[in-house]
Symmetry: C2
């Protein structure tokens, strides 16, 4: 039985790179990932799943084709499956992502910002 | 498309009762629930699912039959499916729970602390 707790700040201290989610926990077939965001990400969607963003520190903006949503610490958003979105952070922000194991950060869009989807810290 | 963000503190201001999780968001077939904990809960397990606790404010202890895990703000724990546990909070704590829609707070244990599993705020 694995009942190890996870401390977000301790884990956030283990990496510096942006747009490179790190897995910190698994619940059933879902992964909990920490990521540091700064600047613009790639327009993409996830065809088969919703995706949750929870802001732990700082603030981000998630652009959709028809609107933008600003999120700050203590706020969350569910990005519906199949909906194109583009995260953005003016200055470094720290977020918790929740999505099914195997979800790729750029969806089907690919490109230089695609990160490995299976890195645990 | 529902792209409304959720602010945890705003939602936490909408209820006062303890041990009565309120749904604030859905991702695929999973619910995100806020709860206020104080005192002792009931020993129980969830036969078919893991369950995530994230502490937003204060601290809690989750007792297992063979150990206890202390969790404070900024920490999370995955309680494995089928493992008996008993949450406890010496003073009021605020937590985010993540589990499949329809998960009952007392599992199969029932009792006076069983809360409805479908209350959105």
């Amino acid at each position: 039985m694995n009942t190890s707790k996870v401390n977000f700040n301790q884990k956030l201290g283990l990496f510096k790179e942006h747009w490179s989610p790190k897995i910190i926990a698994q619940m059933n077939n879902y992964h909990f990932k920490l990521a540091k965001l700064e600047g613009d990400f790639t327009w993409h969607d996830h065809k088969d799943t919703d995706e949750v963003f929870i802001v732990l520190e700082g603030s981000i903006r998630i652009d959709f084709r028809d609107q933008s949503v600003d999120l700050k610490e203590g706020e969350m958003l569910v990005v519906p499956k199949g909906v194109e979105h583009k995260p953005y952070a003016a200055t470094e922000a720290k977020v918790l992502l929740i999505e099914p194991a195997g979800t790729v950060n750029t969806g089907d869009a690919g490109g230089a910002q695609t990160a490995p989807d299976d890195v645990w810290i």
